[in-house]
Amino acid sequence: MNLVLVAEQTLNGLQLGVMLFLLAAGLTLVFGIMNLVNLAHGALYMVGAYLAAYFYQTTGSFALGVLLGLAGTLVVGIVVELVALRTLYERDHLDQVLATFGLILFFNELIAILWGRSAIYSTLPPYLTGHVELIGSLRYPLYRLVIIGVGLAVAVLLWFVVSRTRLGMLIRAGASNRAMVAALGINIRRLYTIVFGFGAALAGLAGLLAGPIFSVQPGMGELILIQVFVVIVIGGIGSIRGAFAGALIVGMVDTLGRAFLKPALSAIISPAAGDAAGPALASMLIYLLMAAVLAFRPEGLFPSRGS
């Protein structure tokens, strides 16, 4: 096995990991603080991708498209919270799963009405295209390095907000004891709206970053949503630290599993076994991991303190 290949696949895993983190951060906070299972989180990812592609097309500026897309998803998130989700916080998980499942159908169709059912393909501006020569013969797409950079920067920023600011203190307090925060005279409803809005914006950010390299289509959120749930369950619900660790673990396990499991099994057992079991096992790997975590450490690897 050559080192360049391992390095490149590790970068790929990292890139998938930071994408998952952007989605998982909002989902895990909403889950931890409002106790809401939000299946429609993937829809916000889709909204971000569409808005950015749309604004990029109309303004002709990629940066402006990103900014407006981000702002737009924030607004959509806040509206959804105020109109639909607010009434769901006190309901049980079953109701939440179903109502947000309904929201998925609603958003997918709304997008289909506005932009059609076919996938749309946005492009990258010239300054983000092309590749960079890293060590040796390793060429890596510039844009994917940008994604990794943005993801890591957001992680640092979130860490700062959550652990060093007053808002972060409230968020942490809300995750461990909601009733107490409310009792201390904090406007918990407003806190909820803020948290949900920013979670939505982060999901939108993931979507608009993914747009130019993948296809933008109705239902794109569901393809990644389940993986995001795996991330937050592995990391521990309500914990940003857990979401980060979980995202990197899932990103790496999934990418490296797809790349190396088949050759590894072929070498260790037999080529036939590698061919037969490799791909199957590779796609099941993250779910195996999640089931194992749930069975042995149901609170996740990095449970949020106090819950």
């Binding site: 490149e8 890596y140 289509q217 109705p218 239902g219």
Partner: protein
Amino acid sequence: MHKFTRTVILGLIASAAFAALISTPAFAQQKVKIGFISTFSGPGGVIGTDMRNSVELALDHLGRKVGGLDTELIYGDDQQKPDVGKQVSDEMVKKHQVNFVAGVIWSNVMLAVAPSVTQAGTFMIGTNAGPHQLAGAGCHEMFFTTSWQNDQTPEAMGKHMQDAGINDVYLMAPNYAAGKDMLTGFKRTFKGRIVGEVYTTVNQPDYQAELAQLRSKNPKAVMVFYPGGMGINFLKQYSEAGLRGQFPLYSVYTVDELTIPAVKHAALGQLETRYWSQDLKNEANVKFVADYRKKYNGKTPSFYGAQSYDGILLIDSAVRAAKGNMADKKGMIAAMRKADFKSTRGKFTYGQNHFPIQNYYLLKAVAGSTPTSDPVMEIQKTVFTNYKDSYGKDCKMKW
């Protein structure tokens, strides 16, 4: 509420719903009903739109009357899923009681749809997918296709690469019925070394991990099959990863008039093999391409559209031969076997298994007329003349 009242209300709702369900309009005689199945959602949606546009153009050219009869067209979206396709076709056959089911892009969908349509005694006119199962022992007198058998196009590409003396080829295709046919076909005519053969998940958005694997094998050339939206993602990522300069890329059904507008100059110089091209100079094709551009603000049709246009003309020829008697299935089969219509590919004949015997060309994406316009596909040379597929000999049909 009083229990009795509730029962009455519920009973009324139930009977109203039931009555509504079964009250479909009465049969209209002397009418052609065609159910057209394609993919109108997701990454395959670009293909479905082109097919529907071409079907509508064919109807325009026929004065909205197929075979001189009033025509009803019902479109169905298979969402690129075999089970959905089957459900849609069952509905067309049983609920709408269509005379013809046509269309179908994906071979796996076709394998689910075609047998149940033909078993019900309804015609199946394929206008894209050509899985080998339906060309060999699984051939059927009610099944015709206006496209090709999957293996043929990559066979032409294999022949070209073999003749060009290329060696150490790396193969990639999505993991479904057609992907397997494509690579089987390529290996039938290409006899050089193959350094890798990778199947990816259908519609997977990201090929980065597989491209890294490809680079590590250091092949002399790459041959892929990525139709529709998959091709757009693949070509973009292939260029972004800097592989375009490193490994020459050959493809089938990947670079066409639908993917070029999305990938633009990343397609320049790309070689493909195909039975049709927009620059084929026969009368029917010149008219088809020109009218398509006129009707759909300057867009160029693709082979998916050309086949679908042909599909409607094939049906038209059958209904005319049967003099509008939709019960005369024998007569319509006999008429369609003659392929007696003005096809966009020029004159062709049908093989024993109802798959076309036709020419295959080498195409290249060359620069457009102005520096800013997209590349266009043009014919370079003929690879095969009147080429028959490799499975027809297993077809037991006699005529």
